[in-house]
Amino acid sequence: MLQLLTWGGALDCPSLDPACLAVETYIRLSGLPYQRQLVNNPNASPTGDLPVLIDDRIWVSGYDRVMSQLIKTGNDLDKHLTAQQKALAKGYMSLLQTTMQDCLLFSWYHDAKNYTSNIRPSLAHLIPFPYRYIVPMQMRKRAKARLVPYGVELTEADKNRSVFERAREANRAESVSTLMEGGWHHMFTRVREGYKTLQTKLGDQKFFFGDSPSTLDCVAFGYLSLHYFPKLARDRLRIILEAEFPSLAKYIERMRDLYESSSTLSSPPPTAETKTPVLPSFFNSIAADPWAWFQRVKSERLVNPFASTETGPKKSQAELDFERKRVWSIAAGVFSVVVYVVWNGLVRIEKIEDGDEAYDSGMYDVEEDEEMDEED
């Protein structure tokens, strides 16, 4: 049984990652039974990229490798295509995976409102605990690098904006002027060109190459559904698709129906007991058995850092000297930080006497004085 580790769905989309959705659509349309696990964590993948396909004992990760593995198992959706059609399909897939995906990243990450009110909350909701503070930042960083060649610069969403400004932004009504704001960006010209190219290719056909679906249809659905289905705060891509490219929009809806109806071919999703093993990582190993982790670290690092382990090769004198120097320099660094902190009064150690008692005794003193005065 195939097992697929993917990103889960959010924002009214079956998956938040286009490559995962494309692969899943492919598996469903080729009628293969599979189990799905929504790991929502790129750390589960050997290359740091989902989807991961586990076929018996073979792990493959990343869109290209997963697809070639699927084709190897004898399920080629492109059997009915001519060599020329296969060649063109490769070109259209490149278009979807690069330019069209970059336009989506622009809409998600460049528009601060989309990012703060839709994308970031969805990601935070999906990603498991310690990773939700790391993975969205990595994703944004990657999007930033991908948008540089287009001359698009991502600025920090919350930087230099006060709480009041953010609240005002969130409450501002979606007027025509806010819709127009940034609506003429050259990335929207690019996305229109892309939609036009795809719509022209599609024409009046049911699928890109005739009446039966091919790999290109899976990829097109995977990538375009994220343009079309999410209801973002500023869903310009959706508006452009609906208003200017209606037959492409209808195609995406048709593909969604097909995607959902073919799910009967696959086995039901795994229950909590049949969990797929996830690759060991720093957080996983702590979470699984904290005591064993602590023991390991203690035996390896803390007890005797200079002693060579029994199983490992014996360390040379140079290595031991290096480790000794490293420990001393770390200790010296920590010591100097502590001295700096205490010296500059960042943390003060003072002995404070019990204030209440002192105050009270003072009061009594006064009273005693008064009494004495009265006696005088």
Partner: protein, 289 residues
């Protein structure tokens, strides 16, 4: 109390100060170097390259040289090798009479406004051509970047062609930087950089190009070269014309490393249709240009 400026007590002093200043500049010499006004559009490219040819050694520059020639533009070329002088920090760029500097996007617009640009009449074929351009700019570009900037055999040639106009230690630093930049660019489109996977992708792309071209002179049976032809030619020309390291030129490298440096060129040479297409384009360019 003085009411107007000329009644002000300081007025004569100001007046003499003004007349003294008005004598400057005392003498105006003729400018030592005046840039000659452009008579025709000038394309700034990387060049002249190891073969000292009129075509650049950089794929994007060759694409635009071919495309401008196909559109019948009479232009001059300037070998500048300094990408940061361009409006987008990369070459090529075009300077037109009047002093306007155009990047590649603007060049396309300028061409369609001023010249007859050949396009494919059938909208579906036009869409297909966009897909082919996209394929070249991803799969073939990744392989070309990897081969030129990351293969040990080609590092020396890359440094000589791209950076040798700089003085001594700079070419080494810049070559290192360019290599890192190439890695980063490949990683934008791939999760890992693996030689065998990159070249497999390129081989598939070359097969796709070869099948799409078929027996025709130009892509999609066009009588005139279109932008897709210029793009494919640009990349093929660089793949084919770039000298590869041999055991005599690079005696320190192993036979395996030399074979890796040649791999992409050999993949291209295996596709006879594409080699013929590149030759045809070079002939046309030399006839027209």
């Amino acid at each position: 109390m003085p009411t107007t400026l000329d009644q002000h007590p300081l007025f004569p002093i100001l007046q003499s100060f003004k007349s003294a200043l008005s004598t400057f500049p005392l003498k105006t010499n003729a400018p030592v170097h005046t840039p000659t006004p452009l008579e025709k559009p000038t394309l700034f490219i990387y060049g002249p390259g190891p073969r000292n040819s009129a075509l650049s050694f950089d794929a994007e520059c060759v694409v635009w040289q071919a495309w401008l020639t196909s559109c019948g533009v009479e232009y001059a070329t300037e070998h500048i090798n300094e990408p940061l002088s361009g409006p987008k920090g990369k070459l090529p760029f075009l300077v037109v009479p009047g002093g306007k500097t155009l990047n590649t996007d603007q060049m396309q617009h300028w061409l369609s406004k001023n010249y007859t640009v050949h396009t494919l009449a059938d909208p579906e074929k036009q869409a297909d051509s966009q897909a082919i351009i996209s394929l070249v700019e991803t799969k073939l570009r990744d392989a070309l970047l990897f081969s030129i900037f990351c293969e040990a055999t080609n590092t020396q040639l890359m440094r000589q062609t791209y950076f040798d106009h700089q003085s001594f230690p700079l070419p080494h630093f810049l070559a290192h930087q360019a290599r890192e930049g190439a890695f980063d660019e490949i990683l934008l489109r791939n999760d890992t950089v693996v030689r065998s996977e990159i070249y497999r992708g390129a081989a598939q792309a070359l097969d796709a190009l070869s099948v799409t071209l078929g027996e025709d002179d130009y892509f999609f049976g066009s009588a005139q070269p279109t932008f897709v032809d210029a793009t494919v030619f640009g990349y093929l020309h660089v793949l084919l014309s770039r000298p590869v390291g041999t055991s005599t030129t690079q005696p320190t490298l192993t036979e395996e490393q030399l074979a890796q440096g040649r791999q992409l060129r050999e993949l291209t040479l295996e596709r006879k249709t594409l080699v013929d297409f590149a030759k045809r384009c070079v002939r046309n360019l030399s006839n027209n240009g």
